[in-house]
C-alpha cells in the first residue's frame, strides 16, 4: 500500500503536531476516504463536518480520486483579507 503526503497549515499544524501527515492510500481512494483516515488521528477533533481538501492546489470534491503523487492539502477555514 502506498501513502500520500497531506500538507497542513495554520492551526492544523499544531492540532496534528506537524506540517504534514502521511496517509495510507489504497488504489482508487478518494478525497472522502482520505478524510475518513485522517479522522482517526489524534488532533482530528478540530476538523469541521466537511473539511476542505485541495488536490494539486485546487479545492477537490469528496469523490475525487487521489493519486500518491498528488499535492494534497487539508485547508483550515480561511481567514484572509
Amino acid at each position: 500500500m502506498s501513502t500520500v503526503t497531506v500538507q497542513l497549515f495554520a492551526s492544523y499544524v499544531e492540532s496534528f503536531g506537524g506540517p504534514t501527515l502521511e496517509i495510507p492510500l489504497d488504489p482508487g481512494s478518494t478525497v472522502g476516504d482520505l478524510v475518513h483516515s485522517i479522522r482517526s488521528l489524534p488532533g482530528a477533533y478540530v476538523l469541521p463536518e466537511s473539511p476542505r481538501v485541495a488536490v494539486n492546489r485546487r479545492f477537490a470534491s469528496f469523490d475525487q480520486v487521489v493519486d500518491p503523487r498528488d499535492e494534497v492539502a487539508l485547508i483550515p477555514p480561511v481567514a484572509g483579507g
Binding site: 500538507q7 497549515f9 495554520a10 492551526s11 469541521p48 485541495a54 492546489r57 485546487r58 479545492f59 492539502a73 485547508i75 483550515p76 477555514p77 480561511v78 481567514a79 484572509g80 483579507g81
Partner: protein, 145 residues
C-alpha cells in the same frame, strides 16, 4: 490588464491605482483591508498572516479572471500580504478600473468576498495579554464577558 500577488512587503494602494489607470477608464474602485487594533472586543497588537502560497496565488488569479469575465474587460490588480503585520498595515488591496462606476464597484466587492471564501490564507492574532490565537471565521463566537 490583470495582476495578482501574494507579497511579503508593504502594500501601497496608490501604486496599484497608478498601475491600473488608463485613459479609457472613468472609474477606479479600491478596497484595502488593514489591521485593526480590536477584534471581537479583544485588544490586538499584531497579526501573523500565513498562506499556502502556491495555491493562494493561483486562487487569487482565478478570482481576478472570473471578475474580468463577469464585469467586462477592465484593469484589475490585487495583492495580499503575508508575514507579521502591525496595527494599521494594509493586509490586502484590490483595485478595479472600468469605463463606468457600476462594474468597477461590483468587481471590488466580488473580489474581496471571494478572497474571504477561498484563498488559503490564515491569520493568528496577537493580543495585548500575550495570547496568540488562529482566527476561525466559521467558529461560533463565545461571549468573553
Amino acid at each position: 490588464m490583470r495582476r495578482s500577488a501574494i507579497v511579503t512587503r508593504a502594500i501601497d494602494p496608490a501604486t496599484l491605482m497608478a498601475e491600473v489607470q488608463s485613459t479609457e477608464f472613468g472609474a477606479i474602485s479600491v478596497f484595502a483591508g488593514t489591521v485593526r487594533d480590536t477584534n471581537d472586543g479583544r485588544s490586538v497588537t499584531a497579526i501573523d498572516y500565513s498562506a499556502y502560497t502556491s495555491m493562494a496565488e493561483s486562487e487569487l488569479e482565478s478570482i481576478l479572471a472570473e471578475a474580468q469575465d463577469r464585469f467586462g474587460v477592465m484593469g484589475i490588480v490585487a495583492e495580499h500580504r503575508v508575514g507579521t503585520l502591525a496595527i494599521g498595515d494594509v493586509s490586502v488591496a484590490i483595485v478595479a478600473a472600468h469605463a463606468h462606476r457600476g462594474p468597477a464597484l461590483d468587481c471590488t466587492r466580488f473580489v474581496i468576498e471571494e478572497i474571504k471564501k477561498r484563498v488559503p490564507i490564515w491569520k493568528r492574532e496577537h493580543y495585548a495579554d500575550g495570547a496568540r490565537e488562529w482566527v476561525d471565521p466559521t467558529a461560533r463566537r463565545v461571549a468573553t464577558t
